[in-house]
Protein backbone atom coordinates (compact mmCIF):
# COMPACT_ATOMS: atom_id res chain seq x y z
CA UNK A 1 0.00 0.00 0.00
CA UNK A 2 1.27 3.43 -0.74
CA UNK A 3 -1.21 5.93 -1.99
CA UNK A 4 -0.16 9.48 -1.33
CA UNK A 5 -2.50 12.41 -1.68
CA UNK A 6 -1.69 16.10 -1.38
CA UNK A 7 -4.61 18.45 -0.82
CA UNK A 8 -4.08 22.19 -1.25
CA UNK A 9 -0.55 21.88 0.12
CA UNK A 10 1.46 25.10 0.36
CA UNK A 11 4.92 25.89 1.65
CA UNK A 12 6.39 29.25 2.52
CA UNK A 13 9.83 30.09 3.84
CA UNK A 14 9.20 33.36 5.68
CA UNK A 15 7.39 35.60 3.21
CA UNK A 16 8.47 33.62 0.19
CA UNK A 17 5.88 31.18 -1.04
CA UNK A 18 7.81 28.40 -2.76
CA UNK A 19 4.81 26.16 -3.32
CA UNK A 20 1.43 27.74 -4.04
CA UNK A 21 -1.63 25.55 -3.31
CA UNK A 22 -1.02 22.21 -4.95
CA UNK A 23 -3.10 19.05 -5.40
CA UNK A 24 -1.60 15.75 -6.43
CA UNK A 25 -2.49 12.10 -6.12
CA UNK A 26 0.10 9.38 -6.39
CA UNK A 27 -1.46 5.95 -6.77
CA UNK A 28 -0.30 2.79 -5.10
CA UNK A 29 2.60 1.17 -6.93
CA UNK A 30 3.19 4.05 -9.28
CA UNK A 31 6.66 5.25 -10.22
CA UNK A 32 6.20 9.00 -10.16
CA UNK A 33 8.93 11.38 -11.21
CA UNK A 34 9.03 15.05 -10.19
CA UNK A 35 10.96 16.89 -12.84
CA UNK A 36 11.75 20.53 -13.39
CA UNK A 37 14.61 23.00 -13.58
CA UNK A 38 16.65 23.61 -10.44
CA UNK A 39 14.84 25.71 -7.88
CA UNK A 40 11.40 24.67 -9.08
CA UNK A 41 10.45 23.26 -5.68
CA UNK A 42 10.59 19.58 -6.58
CA UNK A 43 12.96 18.69 -3.75
CA UNK A 44 10.94 20.81 -1.32
CA UNK A 45 7.81 18.95 -2.37
CA UNK A 46 9.54 15.62 -1.72
CA UNK A 47 10.71 16.81 1.70
CA UNK A 48 7.17 17.89 2.51
CA UNK A 49 5.96 14.40 1.70
CA UNK A 50 8.80 12.90 3.75
CA UNK A 51 7.99 15.15 6.68
CA UNK A 52 11.44 16.73 6.80
CA UNK A 53 9.77 20.09 6.22
CA UNK A 54 6.48 21.17 7.77
CA UNK A 55 3.81 22.13 5.30
CA UNK A 56 2.45 25.65 5.77
CA UNK A 57 -1.19 24.86 4.96
CA UNK A 58 -3.03 21.92 3.46
CA UNK A 59 -3.10 18.19 4.10
CA UNK A 60 -1.07 15.15 3.20
CA UNK A 61 -2.74 11.75 3.25
CA UNK A 62 -0.82 8.51 3.09
CA UNK A 63 -2.98 5.43 2.50
CA UNK A 64 -6.07 7.45 3.28
CA UNK A 65 -4.82 8.55 6.70
CA UNK A 66 -3.96 12.14 7.50
CA UNK A 67 -0.17 12.31 7.85
CA UNK A 68 0.16 16.10 7.92
CA UNK A 69 1.33 16.24 11.54
CA UNK A 70 3.16 12.92 11.67
CA UNK A 71 6.92 12.87 12.28
CA UNK A 72 8.97 11.44 9.37
CA UNK A 73 9.59 8.08 11.07
CA UNK A 74 5.87 7.48 11.54
CA UNK A 75 4.93 8.03 7.89
CA UNK A 76 6.27 4.69 6.73
CA UNK A 77 8.30 6.24 3.94
CA UNK A 78 11.95 5.63 3.15
CA UNK A 79 14.18 8.15 1.47
CA UNK A 80 17.35 7.90 -0.60
CA UNK A 81 19.32 11.14 -0.46
CA UNK A 82 21.41 12.84 -3.11
CA UNK A 83 24.56 12.47 -0.98
CA UNK A 84 23.41 8.93 0.00
CA UNK A 85 23.73 10.10 3.65
CA UNK A 86 25.32 6.82 4.70
CA UNK A 87 26.63 6.69 8.26
CA UNK A 88 30.40 6.73 7.69
CA UNK A 89 31.39 5.11 11.00
CA UNK A 90 29.15 2.07 10.52
CA UNK A 91 29.76 -0.94 8.30
CA UNK A 92 27.46 -1.53 5.36
CA UNK A 93 25.65 -4.17 7.43
CA UNK A 94 25.05 -1.75 10.28
CA UNK A 95 24.00 0.99 7.90
CA UNK A 96 21.34 -1.21 6.38
CA UNK A 97 20.28 -2.54 9.78
CA UNK A 98 20.04 0.91 11.39
CA UNK A 99 16.34 1.58 10.71
CA UNK A 100 15.49 -1.93 11.92
CA UNK A 101 17.52 -1.48 15.11
CA UNK A 102 15.73 1.81 15.70
CA UNK A 103 12.44 -0.05 15.29
CA UNK A 104 13.66 -2.51 17.98
CA UNK A 105 13.22 -5.50 15.71
CA UNK A 106 14.60 -8.85 16.98
CA UNK A 107 18.17 -9.52 15.88
CA UNK A 108 17.31 -12.67 13.89
CA UNK A 109 14.74 -10.75 11.88
CA UNK A 110 17.23 -7.93 11.30
CA UNK A 111 19.86 -10.37 10.03
CA UNK A 112 17.41 -12.05 7.70
CA UNK A 113 16.25 -8.77 6.21
CA UNK A 114 19.77 -7.39 5.79
CA UNK A 115 20.89 -10.60 4.06
CA UNK A 116 17.88 -10.44 1.80
CA UNK A 117 18.46 -6.79 0.87
CA UNK A 118 22.15 -7.48 0.29
CA UNK A 119 21.42 -10.29 -2.13
CA UNK A 120 18.82 -8.25 -4.00
CA UNK A 121 21.33 -5.42 -4.41
CA UNK A 122 24.50 -7.51 -4.96
CA UNK A 123 26.08 -6.22 -1.77
CA UNK A 124 26.85 -9.55 -0.10
CA UNK A 125 30.61 -9.20 -0.50
CA UNK A 126 30.68 -5.71 0.93
CA UNK A 127 28.63 -6.09 4.11
CA UNK A 128 31.58 -5.63 6.45
CA UNK A 129 33.14 -2.67 4.67
CA UNK A 130 32.73 0.96 5.59
CA UNK A 131 30.94 3.30 3.14
CA UNK A 132 34.26 5.09 2.57
CA UNK A 133 35.67 1.93 0.99
CA UNK A 134 32.90 1.65 -1.60
CA UNK A 135 32.51 3.12 -5.07
CA UNK A 136 29.77 5.62 -5.86
CA UNK A 137 27.47 3.00 -7.34
CA UNK A 138 27.92 0.66 -4.38
CA UNK A 139 27.17 3.48 -1.92
CA UNK A 140 24.05 4.20 -3.90
CA UNK A 141 23.00 0.58 -3.52
CA UNK A 142 23.66 0.65 0.22
CA UNK A 143 21.43 3.72 0.50
CA UNK A 144 18.72 1.88 -1.41
CA UNK A 145 19.29 -1.18 0.79
CA UNK A 146 18.76 0.90 3.89
CA UNK A 147 15.47 2.02 2.38
CA UNK A 148 14.12 -1.36 1.26
CA UNK A 149 14.73 -3.27 4.53
CA UNK A 150 12.08 -1.13 6.17
CA UNK A 151 9.51 -2.34 3.65
CA UNK A 152 8.09 1.18 3.43
CA UNK A 153 4.78 2.26 1.95
CA UNK A 154 6.72 4.34 -0.57
CA UNK A 155 10.28 5.17 -1.55
CA UNK A 156 11.40 8.75 -2.00
CA UNK A 157 14.46 9.41 -4.15
CA UNK A 158 16.06 12.85 -4.10
CA UNK A 159 18.20 13.16 -7.25
CA UNK A 160 19.94 9.90 -6.37
CA UNK A 161 21.97 9.58 -9.54
CA UNK A 162 23.37 13.09 -9.87
CA UNK A 163 26.68 12.18 -8.17
CA UNK A 164 27.41 9.25 -10.48
CA UNK A 165 29.24 9.33 -13.79
CA UNK A 166 27.26 9.01 -16.99
CA UNK A 167 27.82 5.28 -17.61
CA UNK A 168 27.00 4.31 -14.03
CA UNK A 169 23.92 6.52 -14.10
CA UNK A 170 22.46 4.58 -17.01
CA UNK A 171 23.15 1.33 -15.15
CA UNK A 172 21.61 2.51 -11.87
CA UNK A 173 18.61 3.84 -13.79
CA UNK A 174 17.96 0.33 -15.01
CA UNK A 175 18.51 -1.16 -11.56
CA UNK A 176 16.05 1.20 -9.89
CA UNK A 177 13.47 0.49 -12.62
CA UNK A 178 14.03 -3.26 -12.15
CA UNK A 179 13.66 -2.84 -8.40
CA UNK A 180 10.36 -1.07 -8.89
CA UNK A 181 9.06 -3.84 -11.11
CA UNK A 182 10.13 -6.39 -8.48
CA UNK A 183 8.84 -4.62 -5.37
CA UNK A 184 5.81 -2.95 -6.94
CA UNK A 185 6.03 -0.27 -4.26
CA UNK A 186 5.16 3.35 -4.82
CA UNK A 187 8.23 5.36 -5.71
CA UNK A 188 8.63 9.09 -5.96
CA UNK A 189 11.73 10.20 -7.74
CA UNK A 190 13.04 13.75 -8.02
CA UNK A 191 15.33 14.72 -10.86
CA UNK A 192 16.20 17.66 -13.08
CA UNK A 193 17.16 15.29 -15.88
CA UNK A 194 14.25 14.80 -18.24
CA UNK A 195 15.93 11.70 -19.71
CA UNK A 196 15.71 9.98 -16.31
CA UNK A 197 12.11 11.10 -16.06
CA UNK A 198 11.18 9.79 -19.52
CA UNK A 199 12.93 6.44 -19.12
CA UNK A 200 11.81 5.51 -15.61
CA UNK A 201 8.45 7.07 -14.90
CA UNK A 202 4.93 5.71 -14.98
CA UNK A 203 3.85 9.25 -14.30
CA UNK A 204 5.77 12.47 -14.70
CA UNK A 205 4.96 15.61 -12.74
CA UNK A 206 6.51 18.64 -14.41
CA UNK A 207 7.07 21.48 -11.96
CA UNK A 208 8.03 25.08 -12.45
CA UNK A 209 8.25 27.61 -9.62
CA UNK A 210 6.32 25.28 -7.32
CA UNK A 211 3.43 24.94 -9.76
CA UNK A 212 2.53 21.68 -11.46
CA UNK A 213 2.66 22.39 -15.18
CA UNK A 214 1.47 18.97 -16.29
CA UNK A 215 0.98 15.47 -14.99
CA UNK A 216 0.97 12.50 -17.30
CA UNK A 217 2.73 9.47 -18.68
CA UNK A 218 6.02 10.11 -20.48
CA UNK A 219 4.46 9.68 -23.92
CA UNK A 220 1.48 11.89 -23.08
CA UNK A 221 3.88 14.67 -22.19
CA UNK A 222 5.90 14.04 -25.31
CA UNK A 223 2.92 13.90 -27.65
CA UNK A 224 0.73 16.60 -26.20
CA UNK A 225 2.54 19.02 -23.91
CA UNK A 226 0.01 21.25 -22.22
CA UNK A 227 2.07 24.42 -22.61
CA UNK A 228 5.29 25.80 -24.04
CA UNK A 229 7.24 25.12 -20.82
CA UNK A 230 6.51 21.40 -20.86
CA UNK A 231 7.05 21.37 -24.62
CA UNK A 232 10.50 22.84 -24.22
CA UNK A 233 11.42 20.78 -21.16
CA UNK A 234 10.46 17.28 -22.25
CA UNK A 235 12.34 15.78 -25.16
CA UNK A 236 15.97 15.86 -26.14
CA UNK A 237 17.13 17.88 -27.96
CA UNK A 238 14.58 20.54 -27.07
CA UNK A 239 11.53 21.20 -29.18
CA UNK A 240 11.92 24.16 -31.54
CA UNK A 241 9.53 26.90 -30.49
CA UNK A 242 8.83 29.41 -33.21
CA UNK A 243 6.93 32.68 -32.82
CA UNK A 244 6.03 35.46 -35.23
CA UNK A 245 4.63 35.25 -38.74
CA UNK A 246 5.46 31.57 -39.20
CA UNK A 247 3.34 30.78 -36.12
CA UNK A 248 0.59 33.06 -37.35
CA UNK A 249 0.33 30.95 -40.53
CA UNK A 250 -0.89 28.15 -38.23
CA UNK A 251 -3.30 30.44 -36.33
CA UNK A 252 -1.12 30.31 -33.20
CA UNK A 253 1.17 32.58 -31.21
CA UNK A 254 3.83 29.93 -30.89
CA UNK A 255 4.33 26.74 -32.77
CA UNK A 256 6.54 23.90 -31.67
CA UNK A 257 8.16 21.21 -33.75
CA UNK A 258 10.51 18.58 -32.43
CA UNK A 259 13.92 18.12 -34.15
CA UNK A 260 12.97 14.56 -35.07
CA UNK A 261 9.84 15.75 -36.86
CA UNK A 262 11.61 17.93 -39.40
CA UNK A 263 12.77 16.26 -42.59
CA UNK A 264 15.90 17.30 -44.46
CA UNK A 265 15.06 17.50 -48.18
CA UNK A 266 17.21 18.00 -51.28
CA UNK A 267 15.49 21.17 -52.41
CA UNK A 268 12.26 23.13 -52.19
CA UNK A 269 11.60 22.61 -48.48
CA UNK A 270 9.35 24.81 -46.39
CA UNK A 271 12.32 26.40 -44.63
CA UNK A 272 15.87 27.07 -45.73
CA UNK A 273 18.93 27.94 -43.64
CA UNK A 274 22.66 27.54 -43.16
CA UNK A 275 24.14 24.76 -41.08
CA UNK A 276 25.88 25.88 -37.92
CA UNK A 277 27.17 23.25 -35.54
CA UNK A 278 26.60 19.67 -36.63
CA UNK A 279 26.71 17.02 -33.91
CA UNK A 280 27.48 13.63 -35.41
CA UNK A 281 26.43 10.82 -33.10
CA UNK A 282 26.67 8.11 -35.71
CA UNK A 283 23.09 6.92 -35.40
CA UNK A 284 21.77 10.44 -35.79
CA UNK A 285 23.11 13.84 -36.67
CA UNK A 286 21.85 17.00 -34.99
CA UNK A 287 22.13 20.18 -37.04
CA UNK A 288 21.80 23.63 -35.52
CA UNK A 289 20.54 25.82 -38.32
CA UNK A 290 20.79 29.59 -38.53
CA UNK A 291 19.38 32.22 -40.89
CA UNK A 292 16.09 30.45 -41.41
CA UNK A 293 14.16 33.68 -41.14
CA UNK A 294 12.23 32.16 -38.23
CA UNK A 295 14.02 34.24 -35.61
CA UNK A 296 15.39 31.21 -33.76
CA UNK A 297 18.10 28.66 -34.23
CA UNK A 298 16.39 25.51 -35.42
CA UNK A 299 17.57 22.09 -34.32
CA UNK A 300 17.02 19.20 -36.69
CA UNK A 301 17.68 15.51 -36.30
CA UNK A 302 18.69 13.59 -39.38
CA UNK A 303 18.86 9.81 -39.25
CA UNK A 304 22.32 8.42 -39.87
CA UNK A 305 25.39 10.37 -40.81
CA UNK A 306 24.28 13.11 -43.21
CA UNK A 307 27.20 14.79 -44.92
CA UNK A 308 26.31 18.44 -44.59
CA UNK A 309 29.05 20.72 -43.30
CA UNK A 310 29.21 24.01 -41.48
CA UNK A 311 27.98 26.81 -43.74
CA UNK A 312 26.09 24.58 -46.18
CA UNK A 313 22.57 25.49 -47.17
CA UNK A 314 19.93 23.08 -45.91
CA UNK A 315 16.30 22.63 -46.91
CA UNK A 316 13.78 21.57 -44.29
CA UNK A 317 10.20 20.40 -44.24
CA UNK A 318 8.35 20.08 -40.91
CA UNK A 319 5.80 17.29 -40.72
CA UNK A 320 2.49 19.14 -40.66
CA UNK A 321 0.75 16.71 -38.31
CA UNK A 322 3.52 16.98 -35.71
CA UNK A 323 3.30 20.73 -35.27
CA UNK A 324 2.18 21.78 -31.80
CA UNK A 325 0.27 25.06 -31.58
CA UNK A 326 0.20 27.33 -28.51
CA UNK A 327 -1.78 30.49 -27.78
CA UNK A 328 -0.60 33.81 -26.34
CA UNK A 329 -0.55 32.39 -22.77
CA UNK A 330 1.62 29.53 -23.98
CA UNK A 331 -1.25 27.03 -23.62
CA UNK A 332 -1.81 24.27 -26.12
CA UNK A 333 -4.45 24.83 -28.80
CA UNK A 334 -6.19 21.51 -29.33
Amino acid sequence: MGQIQLNQVTKSFGDVEVIPPLDLTIHDGEFTVFVGPSGCGKSTLLRLIAGLEDITTGHIEIDGKDATALVPAKRGLAMVFQSYALYPHMSVRKNIAFPLRMAKMPQSEIDARVENAASVLNLKDYLDRRPGQLSGGQRQRVAIGRAIVREPAAFLFDEPLSNLDAALRVGMRMEISELHKKLETTMIYVTHDQVEAMTMADKIVVLQAGVIEQVGSPLELYRSPRNTFVAGFIGSPKMNLITGPEAAKHDADTIGIRPEHIDVVESGGTWEGTVGVAEHLGSDTFFHIHNTGLGETITVRAIGDVSLKHGDTIHLTPRADEIHRFDAQGLRIA
Partner: protein, 288 residues
Protein backbone atom coordinates in the same frame (compact mmCIF):
# COMPACT_ATOMS: atom_id res chain seq x y z
CA UNK B 1 57.86 17.36 -5.62
CA UNK B 2 58.88 14.37 -7.61
CA UNK B 3 62.25 15.00 -9.13
CA UNK B 4 65.50 14.35 -7.29
CA UNK B 5 66.50 17.99 -7.55
CA UNK B 6 63.26 19.28 -6.06
CA UNK B 7 63.43 16.77 -3.22
CA UNK B 8 66.94 17.77 -2.18
CA UNK B 9 66.00 21.43 -2.56
CA UNK B 10 63.07 20.80 -0.23
CA UNK B 11 65.36 19.16 2.31
CA UNK B 12 67.79 22.07 2.10
CA UNK B 13 65.04 24.60 2.66
CA UNK B 14 63.53 22.71 5.58
CA UNK B 15 66.94 22.32 7.23
CA UNK B 16 67.08 25.68 9.07
CA UNK B 17 63.67 25.12 10.65
CA UNK B 18 64.49 21.55 11.62
CA UNK B 19 67.87 22.48 13.07
CA UNK B 20 66.40 25.41 15.02
CA UNK B 21 63.60 23.24 16.38
CA UNK B 22 65.96 20.44 17.31
CA UNK B 23 68.33 22.88 19.07
CA UNK B 24 65.38 24.49 20.82
CA UNK B 25 64.30 21.15 22.23
CA UNK B 26 67.59 19.31 22.58
CA UNK B 27 69.61 21.98 24.39
CA UNK B 28 67.23 22.36 27.38
CA UNK B 29 66.63 18.62 27.46
CA UNK B 30 70.35 17.80 27.58
CA UNK B 31 70.94 20.54 30.17
CA UNK B 32 68.15 19.11 32.34
CA UNK B 33 69.68 15.64 32.06
CA UNK B 34 73.14 17.05 32.84
CA UNK B 35 72.04 18.94 35.97
CA UNK B 36 69.93 16.04 37.19
CA UNK B 37 73.10 14.05 37.80
CA UNK B 38 74.91 16.85 39.65
CA UNK B 39 74.68 18.47 43.05
CA UNK B 40 73.93 22.05 42.11
CA UNK B 41 72.87 24.41 44.91
CA UNK B 42 73.21 27.99 43.58
CA UNK B 43 73.16 29.70 47.00
CA UNK B 44 74.99 26.97 48.89
CA UNK B 45 78.25 26.41 47.05
CA UNK B 46 77.09 26.20 43.42
CA UNK B 47 77.91 23.23 41.22
CA UNK B 48 79.52 20.58 43.43
CA UNK B 49 80.10 17.80 40.91
CA UNK B 50 78.55 14.41 40.12
CA UNK B 51 76.20 12.57 42.46
CA UNK B 52 74.99 9.75 40.28
CA UNK B 53 71.30 8.89 40.80
CA UNK B 54 71.05 10.56 44.24
CA UNK B 55 68.74 13.32 42.95
CA UNK B 56 66.42 10.78 41.31
CA UNK B 57 66.19 8.69 44.46
CA UNK B 58 65.59 11.72 46.67
CA UNK B 59 62.90 13.11 44.40
CA UNK B 60 60.83 9.90 44.34
CA UNK B 61 61.28 9.04 47.97
CA UNK B 62 60.20 12.50 49.05
CA UNK B 63 56.78 12.35 50.72
CA UNK B 64 55.54 15.02 48.29
CA UNK B 65 56.16 13.00 45.13
CA UNK B 66 53.24 10.57 44.84
CA UNK B 67 50.62 13.08 46.06
CA UNK B 68 51.94 15.48 43.40
CA UNK B 69 51.56 12.85 40.66
CA UNK B 70 48.06 12.07 41.88
CA UNK B 71 47.12 15.76 41.99
CA UNK B 72 48.43 16.27 38.47
CA UNK B 73 46.46 13.34 37.10
CA UNK B 74 43.32 14.37 39.00
CA UNK B 75 43.44 17.87 37.55
CA UNK B 76 44.09 16.61 34.01
CA UNK B 77 41.35 14.01 34.13
CA UNK B 78 38.71 16.22 35.75
CA UNK B 79 39.34 19.13 33.41
CA UNK B 80 39.22 16.80 30.38
CA UNK B 81 35.90 15.33 31.44
CA UNK B 82 34.36 18.71 32.23
CA UNK B 83 35.58 20.48 29.10
CA UNK B 84 34.66 17.68 26.70
CA UNK B 85 31.19 17.12 28.19
CA UNK B 86 30.31 20.81 28.44
CA UNK B 87 32.11 21.50 25.17
CA UNK B 88 29.89 19.05 23.28
CA UNK B 89 26.76 20.55 24.84
CA UNK B 90 27.83 24.13 24.14
CA UNK B 91 28.85 23.25 20.59
CA UNK B 92 25.42 21.67 20.00
CA UNK B 93 23.76 24.82 21.34
CA UNK B 94 25.93 27.24 19.37
CA UNK B 95 25.32 25.27 16.19
CA UNK B 96 21.63 26.17 16.35
CA UNK B 97 20.69 29.35 14.51
CA UNK B 98 19.85 32.10 17.01
CA UNK B 99 19.67 35.83 17.40
CA UNK B 100 23.06 37.44 18.11
CA UNK B 101 24.96 34.32 17.14
CA UNK B 102 28.19 36.13 16.29
CA UNK B 103 28.38 37.98 19.61
CA UNK B 104 27.50 34.89 21.62
CA UNK B 105 30.22 32.90 19.89
CA UNK B 106 32.83 35.59 20.60
CA UNK B 107 31.75 35.69 24.24
CA UNK B 108 32.08 31.94 24.52
CA UNK B 109 35.58 32.02 23.06
CA UNK B 110 36.68 35.03 25.18
CA UNK B 111 38.06 33.13 28.23
CA UNK B 112 40.69 31.59 25.99
CA UNK B 113 42.14 35.04 25.29
CA UNK B 114 42.60 35.85 28.99
CA UNK B 115 46.05 35.01 30.32
CA UNK B 116 46.08 32.16 32.85
CA UNK B 117 47.55 34.39 35.57
CA UNK B 118 44.90 37.05 35.03
CA UNK B 119 41.97 34.69 34.90
CA UNK B 120 43.14 32.87 38.02
CA UNK B 121 43.44 36.20 39.86
CA UNK B 122 39.99 37.25 38.67
CA UNK B 123 38.52 33.99 39.92
CA UNK B 124 40.40 34.22 43.18
CA UNK B 125 39.43 37.79 44.00
CA UNK B 126 36.10 38.34 42.30
CA UNK B 127 34.41 34.97 42.63
CA UNK B 128 36.06 32.88 45.30
CA UNK B 129 36.97 35.45 47.93
CA UNK B 130 35.17 34.24 51.07
CA UNK B 131 34.20 37.81 52.11
CA UNK B 132 33.68 39.88 48.97
CA UNK B 133 33.51 37.24 46.25
CA UNK B 134 30.38 36.80 44.12
CA UNK B 135 30.07 33.21 45.30
CA UNK B 136 30.20 34.37 48.93
CA UNK B 137 27.37 36.83 48.21
CA UNK B 138 25.40 34.12 46.44
CA UNK B 139 25.85 31.70 49.32
CA UNK B 140 24.84 34.38 51.84
CA UNK B 141 21.82 35.28 49.70
CA UNK B 142 20.58 31.74 50.19
CA UNK B 143 21.53 31.88 53.86
CA UNK B 144 24.48 29.54 53.58
CA UNK B 145 27.91 29.91 55.09
CA UNK B 146 30.32 31.15 52.37
CA UNK B 147 32.92 28.63 51.30
CA UNK B 148 36.56 29.68 51.50
CA UNK B 149 37.20 28.03 48.19
CA UNK B 150 40.97 28.23 47.95
CA UNK B 151 41.59 26.63 51.35
CA UNK B 152 38.58 24.39 52.03
CA UNK B 153 37.88 23.26 48.48
CA UNK B 154 41.16 24.03 46.79
CA UNK B 155 41.16 21.22 44.23
CA UNK B 156 37.59 21.83 42.98
CA UNK B 157 38.44 25.53 42.78
CA UNK B 158 41.55 24.94 40.69
CA UNK B 159 39.71 22.46 38.48
CA UNK B 160 36.92 24.99 38.00
CA UNK B 161 39.35 27.76 36.99
CA UNK B 162 41.31 25.58 34.59
CA UNK B 163 38.14 24.11 33.07
CA UNK B 164 36.77 27.60 32.52
CA UNK B 165 39.94 28.45 30.63
CA UNK B 166 39.96 25.39 28.41
CA UNK B 167 36.24 25.10 27.74
CA UNK B 168 36.36 27.61 24.83
CA UNK B 169 39.08 25.61 23.13
CA UNK B 170 37.07 22.40 23.36
CA UNK B 171 33.87 24.19 22.30
CA UNK B 172 35.52 25.79 19.30
CA UNK B 173 37.02 22.58 17.95
CA UNK B 174 33.82 20.61 18.58
CA UNK B 175 31.67 23.34 17.03
CA UNK B 176 33.61 23.26 13.78
CA UNK B 177 33.30 19.47 13.82
CA UNK B 178 29.55 19.62 14.31
CA UNK B 179 29.25 22.16 11.51
CA UNK B 180 30.99 19.75 9.17
CA UNK B 181 28.35 17.08 9.77
CA UNK B 182 26.27 16.48 6.65
CA UNK B 183 22.72 17.47 7.61
CA UNK B 184 21.38 14.81 5.26
CA UNK B 185 22.83 12.18 7.61
CA UNK B 186 20.72 13.53 10.45
CA UNK B 187 17.68 13.68 8.21
CA UNK B 188 18.31 10.12 7.07
CA UNK B 189 18.51 9.02 10.70
CA UNK B 190 15.29 10.89 11.39
CA UNK B 191 13.59 9.07 8.51
CA UNK B 192 15.05 5.81 9.84
CA UNK B 193 13.16 6.39 13.05
CA UNK B 194 15.91 7.63 15.39
CA UNK B 195 14.64 10.13 17.96
CA UNK B 196 16.79 13.10 19.04
CA UNK B 197 18.85 11.33 21.71
CA UNK B 198 19.56 8.34 19.50
CA UNK B 199 20.55 10.65 16.66
CA UNK B 200 23.01 12.26 19.05
CA UNK B 201 24.37 8.92 20.20
CA UNK B 202 24.50 7.10 16.85
CA UNK B 203 25.32 9.93 14.44
CA UNK B 204 26.63 13.09 16.10
CA UNK B 205 28.86 11.52 18.75
CA UNK B 206 30.67 9.15 16.35
CA UNK B 207 31.12 12.08 13.99
CA UNK B 208 32.70 14.06 16.84
CA UNK B 209 34.99 11.26 17.99
CA UNK B 210 37.95 12.50 16.01
CA UNK B 211 37.55 16.07 17.22
CA UNK B 212 37.18 14.85 20.81
CA UNK B 213 40.40 12.87 20.39
CA UNK B 214 42.22 15.97 19.24
CA UNK B 215 40.81 18.04 22.11
CA UNK B 216 41.89 15.40 24.62
CA UNK B 217 45.40 15.04 23.21
CA UNK B 218 46.13 18.75 22.95
CA UNK B 219 44.59 19.63 26.30
CA UNK B 220 46.49 16.84 28.08
CA UNK B 221 49.79 18.25 26.89
CA UNK B 222 48.96 21.67 28.29
CA UNK B 223 47.16 20.51 31.42
CA UNK B 224 50.10 18.41 32.59
CA UNK B 225 52.04 21.67 32.84
CA UNK B 226 49.39 23.81 34.59
CA UNK B 227 51.29 26.25 36.78
CA UNK B 228 50.17 29.88 36.81
CA UNK B 229 46.67 29.05 38.11
CA UNK B 230 48.18 27.29 41.11
CA UNK B 231 50.94 29.83 41.68
CA UNK B 232 48.59 32.83 42.01
CA UNK B 233 45.84 31.07 43.97
CA UNK B 234 46.90 28.42 46.47
CA UNK B 235 50.65 28.50 45.98
CA UNK B 236 50.66 24.72 45.97
CA UNK B 237 49.04 24.45 49.39
CA UNK B 238 45.91 22.49 50.38
CA UNK B 239 46.71 19.50 48.21
CA UNK B 240 47.07 21.38 44.95
CA UNK B 241 50.79 20.76 44.46
CA UNK B 242 51.17 19.26 41.00
CA UNK B 243 54.35 17.69 39.68
CA UNK B 244 55.31 20.84 37.77
CA UNK B 245 54.68 22.91 40.92
CA UNK B 246 56.80 20.54 42.99
CA UNK B 247 59.66 20.94 40.51
CA UNK B 248 59.30 24.73 40.71
CA UNK B 249 59.52 24.55 44.51
CA UNK B 250 62.59 22.33 44.45
CA UNK B 251 64.42 24.60 42.02
CA UNK B 252 63.43 28.04 43.26
CA UNK B 253 62.26 27.68 46.83
CA UNK B 254 64.77 25.01 47.90
CA UNK B 255 67.38 26.36 45.49
CA UNK B 256 68.28 22.81 44.42
CA UNK B 257 68.68 22.73 40.66
CA UNK B 258 69.92 19.13 40.57
CA UNK B 259 66.86 17.82 42.42
CA UNK B 260 64.49 19.92 40.32
CA UNK B 261 66.08 18.66 37.11
CA UNK B 262 65.60 15.07 38.23
CA UNK B 263 61.93 15.96 38.82
CA UNK B 264 61.81 17.43 35.33
CA UNK B 265 62.98 14.12 33.89
CA UNK B 266 60.24 12.34 35.85
CA UNK B 267 57.72 14.81 34.45
CA UNK B 268 58.87 13.95 30.94
CA UNK B 269 58.43 10.25 31.71
CA UNK B 270 54.96 10.83 33.20
CA UNK B 271 53.90 12.88 30.20
CA UNK B 272 55.04 10.11 27.89
CA UNK B 273 53.23 7.44 29.88
CA UNK B 274 50.04 9.50 29.74
CA UNK B 275 50.57 10.15 26.03
CA UNK B 276 51.07 6.46 25.22
CA UNK B 277 48.05 5.59 27.31
CA UNK B 278 45.92 8.18 25.52
CA UNK B 279 47.17 7.13 22.11
CA UNK B 280 46.17 3.57 22.90
CA UNK B 281 42.68 4.54 24.00
CA UNK B 282 41.74 7.33 21.65
CA UNK B 283 44.50 7.45 19.04
CA UNK B 284 42.91 4.73 16.93
CA UNK B 285 40.13 7.22 16.21
CA UNK B 286 42.62 9.17 14.14
CA UNK B 287 43.41 6.26 11.84
CA UNK B 288 40.44 6.12 9.53
Amino acid sequence: MATKASRSAARLMMAPAVILLLGWMLVPLIMTLWFSFRTYLPLRGGDQGWTGFDNYVRFVTSSAFWPAVLTTLTIVLSVLIITVALGVLLALLLDKPMWGQGIVRILVIAPFFVMPTVSALVWKNMFMDPVNGLFAHLWRFFGAEPVSWLSDAAMPAIIMIVSWQWLPFATLILLTAIQSLDSEQLEAAEMDGAPTLKRFYHIILPHLSRAITIVILIQTIFLLAVFAEIFVTTGGAFGTRTLSYLIFQRVLESQNIGLGSAGGVYAIILANIVAIFLMRIVGKNLDN
